[in-house]
Structures are given as structure tokens and as C-alpha cells.
């Protein structure tokens, strides 16, 4: 069994801001971390490995700048057997289409992969598009938003978390599964493993190594362009009601019923 977990290094988004003067993204001083959903994907993979009798290899894969190696070390410390960093100037500026093509090419190069796990979405780009994109480029089934996952032979069964319901679906391997936060509690790496992971060799592949078509990677392969970024219109706190419960409730009810009146299907 060979499992690839796609992980993305992301900034701690709560600290990312827009410079109000230049409208530029301020990422400086913001720590990087493994995308939280990808930690769940890693945990899901490691649980499969723990419960699998027979050989099971878990490989962490990321596309990013050389510093993204830190994310892979975290993955190795958690228990991944191998880690691959896709890094090449030519990958820069990739949108989700180019990103998923690039990851898919690397997965092809790894070869004989049975299962690809991704997070539901990355907390920076927030698109949730890369997982299905990888599935399409590999021509395999996708199961998105999995909250439960089990394997039996070549069969995958997963429970998907939808808006107001769950859907239990089944498909055959190889497949791509994206996972939600609630699927598990990611393990923490022990310090022994953190130290060991620091010494590990991390494989690096360039565009050439994965035989990538230059027209389909990076900026060149990205149909979307971020034309501009700007600060959201900040919400400001409004009125505050204080005082006797009776009065407060009366005023609240006025407000709520007024809004409710304006709804199309109350």
C-alpha cells in the first residue's frame, strides 16, 4: 500500500493582513505551519498505516519554496516514511489548476500510489480546489469532505460531510480523498521524532524531474490571476444594549422581527 499525503505550508492566517497604504499582503513575521486540514490528512494516512497488515508506505508531498521543507519535516516527525519537496522557480504563481497538475505529475513519478489524501482546503488560498484537481489529472475517483474513512481490500468507504447531511460513498482505489477537521485528532510528534526528522534527507524534485509540461505549471499554466488584493471592509461593532432584561429583550425582538420581515421566505 502506498499513500501520498499532499500538504501545504501556510502562514498562520490569523496574522496575515493587508497593508492599508500599499494594499500589499503582509506576511512578514508570520509563522509558517502545516495547513491544519493536512495534519488531519496525515493522521488519516498514518492510521491506515497503523492498522494495515502488510507493507504500507506514507509519503508526504508538497509544492513550495525551499523553506516548505519545514512542513515536510513536521510530517516525517509525525511518522511519514518519506517526503518530497517540489520546488522550482517555474512552479511559482500557480493557481489551483497548475498546482494540481504539478502534484499529479509528481504522484505519477512516485508510481503505484493507491491513495492520495488531501486536506479539505488550505487556510490561505481557501479554495478547496486542489484535491479534486489532482484526482482529475490522475483520472481517478475523488471523495471530498470525508469525516470517516475505511479501507477494505481495494475498496474505500467514506462518510462525506455535506451541508446538512452525511453521504456514505464507496469507490475503488486508486482514489483521492480530502478530509475535514472532524475526521480525527492529529497526533503530535514526540521530541525524539522531531530531532530525527531534522536529520532526514528530503527529496527535492524540479519541473524536469516530474516531466512537467512548462505550459501547464506555474504562472504560465494558470488561467486565473489575482488582479488585486485589498483589506475587507472591516465590520465595526454597533449599538450595545444594556439594562433590564425586559427592555433589552423588547428592543431585540423589534430588531429581529424587522429583519425577518425582509426575508424572502420567512
Amino acid at each position: 500500500m502506498k499513500i501520498v499525503v499532499c500538504i501545504k505550508q501556510v502562514p498562520a492566517t490569523t496574522n496575515v493582513r493587508i497593508d492599508p497604504e500599499t494594499n500589499a499582503l503582509i506576511r512578514e513575521g508570520v509563522e509558517s505551519q502545516v495547513n491544519p486540514f493536512d495534519e488531519n490528512a496525515l493522521e488519516a494516512a498514518l492510521q491506515v498505516k497503523d492498522g494495515y497488515d502488510g507493507e504500507c508506505q506514507v509519503i508526504a508531498l508538497t509544492m513550495g519554496p525551499p523553506q516548505a521543507e519545514a512542513a515536510l519535516r513536521d510530517a516525517v516527525a509525525m511518522g511519514c516514511d518519506d517526503a518530497i519537496l517540489l520546488t522550482d522557480g517555474a512552479f511559482r504563481g500557480a493557481d489551483t489548476l497548475a498546482t494540481s497538475y504539478t502534484l499529479a505529475q509528481a504522484i505519477r513519478r512516485i508510481g503505484d500510489v493507491d491513495l492520495v489524501l488531501c486536506g479539505k482546503q488550505a487556510i490561505d488560498g481557501d479554495t478547496a480546489q486542489v484535491g479534486p484537481g489532482v484526482a482529475e489529472h490522475l483520472g481517478v475517483p475523488q471523495i471530498t469532505f470525508a469525516i470517516e474513512l475505511s479501507l477494505e481490500g481495494r475498496k474505500i468507504t467514506a462518510k462525506r460531510m455535506l451541508e446538512d447531511s452525511f453521504e456514505v460513498v464507496e469507490c475503488r482505489m486508486p482514489a483521492v480523498v480530502t478530509v475535514v477537521k472532524q475526521i480525527n485528532d492529529p497526533r503530535r510528534a514526540s521530541m525524539k521524532n522531531v530531532l530525527k526528522a531534522r536529520k532526514r534527507e528530503i527529496t527535492r524534485w524540479t519541473a524536469e524531474d516530474i516531466d512537467a509540461d512548462p505550459d501547464r505549471i506555474g504562472f504560465q499554466g494558470s488561467p486565473t490571476v489575482v488582479w488585486k488584493v485589498f483589506a475587507p471592509e472591516g465590520r465595526k461593532g454597533g449599538r450595545k444594549l444594556e439594562g433590564e432584561v425586559g427592555d433589552v429583550v423588547h428592543a431585540l425582538a423589534d430588531e429581529i422581527l424587522e429583519i425577518r420581515k425582509g426575508l424572502s421566505t420567512a
Binding site: R188, A189, S190, M191, K192, L195, R198
Partner: protein
């Protein structure tokens, strides 16, 4: 001179910080209020290999140094003072084994302490032997392959949950320090029982209990460092223990500063956040500066220890200064929070009560000053 952590140290610290933020801190109030030993936290820390940081790998440790241990301890204490106190007291049992244990003793006792499988405690203080640590009266006699102890210890941190105890007895109670000898006890040894828990000003979840020895027997091979060397064991243990108390105090002080900072930025009086008032800024700046000094003193003492240089004076300074900084900082934090600071709605009054411990335990501030004076007057 280099104030940078090594990459390994940094990697460990980053992981520990995340753990503390996510696992310890959110439950800190609950841990304090519960009155229960923080087993869950300790189990997780054991899984992360946090108990044997300076212990060599052959005894289940991480094979790192005391500097890392100190820096980790500050993170833990800052996130959860109770867990930090357990962590600090645990070292008091571990360190004498590291220093004086035979191969056999290390394998049998140091290893489970280093892996966190078992918790340790250190028993020196007696009703009549506090600051006067040479006045240990718990008697010990060698009989039929066992040392038989009679007497009691008080205030012992971790007593009860701990399974391994380093106990200082006396082969010649009449001769004071010269007869003092260190022994290893395990929970359940014949004649060895745990007495009542102290009701304290703070730290209700931290056990501080009596150790009672009534013809209590430990096998002869459980003598640590040899007969009549107990005073030395105790003093050397306390040297490292002082760094441990220093880091605990820094943690408490940092926690108080954080609360004060965030409150000062939010609380509005006279139409502006109180952090805009210079009187408040001065307090915050002083707190931050003192904490930084205390932190560096603790780390320096640990570094001296790691590099094999004399560190006893710095350890005493670190403990003295850090504990007094903790007291000042927490008092000022209460002041910054005003009336709210005095209520149980906010944790600063608790931190203030907690801080006081560090000025007393493991050598009071007065005793630390004596130790320091002895060093510099030599």
C-alpha cells in the same frame, strides 16, 4: 557570545510551544481548580518525550541539555503553572539519580522517570529541618540487607502520585549533616506511607504531602551515592532544583504579563485604552524588562551547568531574582487589571498567590541571599 538556540533546540521549543498553547493553556484554569493531579497533561508530555530532556538516550531520555530543559520548563509553566510545578519537582528525583546513580539504579529508576512512565518526588524537608537542611532527623539503620527508616518528611511535592522517591535520612541523627544519607523508595515499600495533603494558599491541584516512615524498609542497594553523603546529594540536587524553581517563576511572571498586556489594550477609561497611560506603560515596561533578566539568568545558569562550569551561584541568583520578579510582576498585573484583577474572573490574582511559593520553596529568598553572599565573599 551566542544567544541563539541551536536548530535542534529551536525545533523542540517550537513543538513544545505549540503543545503548550493548544493543550495546556486552554485547560489551565480547569487544571488549577480541579484539585486533581494533572495526569492527562503529564501523559501527553510523556508521549512527547518531555520528561527526560537532559537524560542520555540510553536511559530513555532525549540526550539534550539543561538549557533545553529550562527553556521547555518556562513554556510549560507559563501555559499551566501547576503542570510546570510538577515538571520542576520531577527533576529533583531525576537529577540525583543522573548524578550519583549506579548503572543498576539508573536502569531501574532513572529510565521510568525519564520516559515519564513514573513520576518522581524528593523528600528533604522535615518539621525541624527547613532552611536548616542539615538537621534531618529521619533515622536510618542498616538491618538484614535493608535500611530501616523512622521519621517523616513534610511539604513533599508530587507525593502520592509519585512512584519513585529520593529520601534523605540520617544514619547519625545526633551528628546532623554528617550522617545524612540518600535513599530510593518506591510506593508500597513496607512501612512507607503518604500522609495528609497540605491546604495551601495556591496550587490546590499540586500535591504536597507528608512522607511517613514507620520501620520503613528499602533494600540496601537503594542507598544513593553511598552512606553519609546525603547532605551533598541534597545540596547538589537543590543547585539544579533552583534553576527549576527559577523557570517556574519566570513562567508565572510571563503569564501575568500577558494578561496585563491584553487587558491594558482593551480596557478603556477616560476614552482611551489604559495602555495609553504612561503610568501603565511604565509598569508594563518594568515587568517585561525584569522578566527578561530573570529568564536570561535561568538560561545562563543552565548553560553553565551544561558546559561543566560552576553554576551554583548563578542558580541561586536565578532562583532569587526570578521568584521576586514573579511576585512583583503578578502584583503589578493585579494592579493593571484594577478591580477586575482582584476578582476570580481573571487569573492574575491566582498567579499572584502562586508566585509567593517561589520565594519560599527550595531555599527561601533569605537563604538564597546567604548562598550568594557566601560565594562572593569567598
Amino acid at each position: 557570545m551566542d544567544f541563539e538556540f541551536s536548530e535542534d533546540q529551536q525545533a523542540v521549543l517550537d513543538a513544545v510551544r505549540e503543545f503548550c498553547e493548544e493543550e495546556l493553556k486552554p485547560k489551565a484554569e480547569e487544571t488549577d481548580a480541579s484539585g486533581e493531579f494533572p495526569w492527562e497533561n503529564l501523559r501527553k508530555m510523556a508521549e512527547l518525550d518531555l520528561f527526560g530532556i537532559p537524560v542520555s538516550e540510553e536511559y530513555g531520555g532525549l540526550g539534550m541539555d539543561f538549557l533545553t530543559w529550562a527553556a521547555v520548563g518556562m513554556e510549560i509553566s507559563q501555559a499551566c503553572t501547576t503542570t510546570g510545578a510538577v515538571f520542576g519537582a520531577h527533576m529533583l528525583a531525576q537529577y540525583p539519580l543522573m548524578l550519583f546513580g549506579t548503572e543498576e539504579q539508573k536502569r531501574k529508576y532513572l529510565t521510568p522517570l525519564a520516559t515519564g512512565e513514573k513520576i518522581g518526588a524528593f523528600g528533604l524537608t522535615e518539621p525541624g529541618a527547613g532552611s536548616d537542611a542539615g538537621n534531618v532527623r529521619t533515622s536510618a539503620v542498616l538491618q538484614d540487607g535493608y535500611y530501616v527508616l523512622n521519621g517523616s518528611k513534610i511539604f513533599i511535592t508530587n507525593a502520592g502520585p509519585a512512584e519513585i522517591y529520593i529520601v534523605i535520612g540520617n544514619l547519625r541523627p545526633d551528628r546532623g549533616a554528617r550522617g545524612m544519607t540518600a535513599f530510593i523508595f518506591e510506593t508500597g515499600y513496607e512501612g512507607f506511607t503518604i500522609g495528609k495533603n497540605e491546604k495551601k494558599m495556591a496550587f490546590p491541584s499540586l500535591p504536597n504531602r507528608e512522607l511517613i516512615f514507620q520501620d520503613a524498609k528499602t533494600p540496601a542497594e537503594n542507598v544513593l551515592a553511598g552512606e553519609k553523603r546525603g547532605f551533598r546529594v541534597a545540596m547538589q540536587t537543590l543547585d539544579v532544583g533552583r534553576i527549576g524553581m527559577g523557570i517556574g517563576a519566570v513562567g508565572v511572571a510571563e503569564a501575568a504579563l500577558k494578561h496585563a498586556l491584553s487587558y491594558a489594550k482593551e480596557r478603556v477609561q477616560f476614552g482611551q485604552p489604559i495602555s495609553a497611560f504612561q503610568a501603565i506603560q511604565v509598569k508594563l515596561a518594568d515587568m517585561a524588562t525584569e522578566i527578561e533578566c530573570a529568564r536570561l539568568l535561568c538560561l545562563q545558569a543552565a548553560w553553565l551547568k551544561d558546559t561543566g562550569k560552576p553554576f551554583e551561584k548563578q542558580a541561586a541568583m536565578a532562583k532569587l531574582f526570578a521568584s521576586e520578579v514573579a511576585m512583583r510582576t503578578t502584583t503589578q498585573a493585579v494592579q493593571v487589571l484594577g478591580g477586575y484583577g482582584y476578582t476570580k474572573e481573571f487569573p492574575v490574582e491566582r498567579l499572584m498567590r502562586e508566585a509567593k511559593l517561589f520565594e519560599i520553596v527550595e531555599g527561601t529568598s533569605e537563604i538564597q541571599r546567604l548562598v550568594i553572599a557566601n560565594h562572593i565573599l569567598k
